[in-house]
Symmetry: C2
Subunit: 221 residues, 2 copies
């Protein structure tokens, strides 16, 4: 069991970048793994590479574009208009079925090849936008499944699981990377880095969290 290294599932967004710096604080050696899955804004991978370079972690990209061919969704299919609100009776059409299942499964095989047992992901049940594969129960079940699949002992860490976006900004500030995350990460579904387009669900969530955190911070000075 190697407790000195961790692999971060890394998209270059706010959440996974916070996790990258969280991992750097807790592990000696950190790997960052990004995915090309046919997303409309592939430049997120280039932003991720640049952040990984600044963070001085080993960076890899895996092409898993088969995921985009499995189901219809608005993140990988430009003929579908993106849901800006979650429909009352179904998943938002930004849901890519099985996405975290594949990312984490691939991350586990990749980690195993490098003798790494610890895997870090930025999923959060608090901001759960209708995505079942961000829930704690799913992650724990997958952790057991991965261990059984490869007779390994993986530990999946989810530092953001029970905190909201304002607390994620607080964590970034505590880790000394609030400005880096605010200016250099890409969270926006429309592919605009930093403060983003401002109206997609991801931008709204991110901005509201930042405003809330900055207000709390100002009030406690």
């Amino acid at each position: 069991m190697n407790n000195e290294a961790a692999l971060v599932v890394f998209s270059g967004g706010q959440d996974s970048t916070t996790c990258l710096f969280w991992a750097k604080k807790h592990f000696k050696k950190v790997y960052a793994l990004s995915f090309l899955y046919g997303q409309k804004h592939e430049k997120e991978v280039e932003l991720a590479r640049e952040i990984a370079r600044k963070a001085e972690v080993e960076f890899s990209v895996m092409d898993v574009s088969f995921i985009g061919h499995l189901g219809k969704n608005s993140l990988t299919d430009s003929s579908i208009r993106m849901d800006e609100e979650k429909p009352a009776d179904s998943f938002p059409n930004t849901f890519v079925p099985g996405r975290n299942l594949f990312f984490l499964s691939i991350a586990a095989v990749y980690a195993r090849e490098r003798g790494v047992n610890h895997i870090v992901t930025g999923v959060s049940q608090t901001d759960f936008s209708g995505y079942p594969d961000c829930r704690d129960g799913f992650i724990k079940s997958l952790n057991v499944t991965l261990n059984l699949a490869m007779e390994e002992q993986f530990v999946i860490h989810t530092p953001l699981m029970w905190i909201d976006k304002a607390q994620t900004w607080a964590l970034a500030d505590e880790l000394g990377v609030l400005d880096l995350i605010r200016n250099e990460t890409l969270t926006c579904y429309n592919g605009i880095p930093g403060d983003g387009c401002g109206h997609c669900p991801a931008c709204k969530l991110r901005r509201e969290g930042l405003e809330k955190y900055l207000a709390i911070k100002a009030s406690t000075k």
Copy 2:
């Protein structure tokens, strides 16, 4: 919940072909899904297509060659000599880490898109050749994980889990496809259809099972 259709993870080998005909007996509509994962003998997919045509089931192939790039193993890397026996202290080097994890996860997303809940796989714990992802505990854990990942109700069927190769031949005979499976399927690690190369682990297992079943059958006539 759709109980009239099933998706079979289908390689065109003895086990999955037996499962294909088992599924045809139990479900009205059957889909067969094959994978290109960088295996040395890609012609198995063409044999699979031909069997699916004869069985009159809907056949698809998914390219998941990323699996071959994740780890080193002798099934996808021709520079590695294949283990003919399982090493005492580790997996045989024919183990592709995570293979069944990926095949079944992709099968689930594929099934979900088609409104199919039942998934059939030919894994067997009895002939378990050192592969952890053929065990019953792994399959059951994965079933729960898949249901949580997509908020679905999948049912993974493993008709061969607790039977040995001789009993698998008996099942084929019962389903009326012993000759088809003996002559047209590919099980051999060296890519030779039918009775195969005769000396790789898969051929040995297959032949010994057939001889045992034919001897039992002859003795009970």
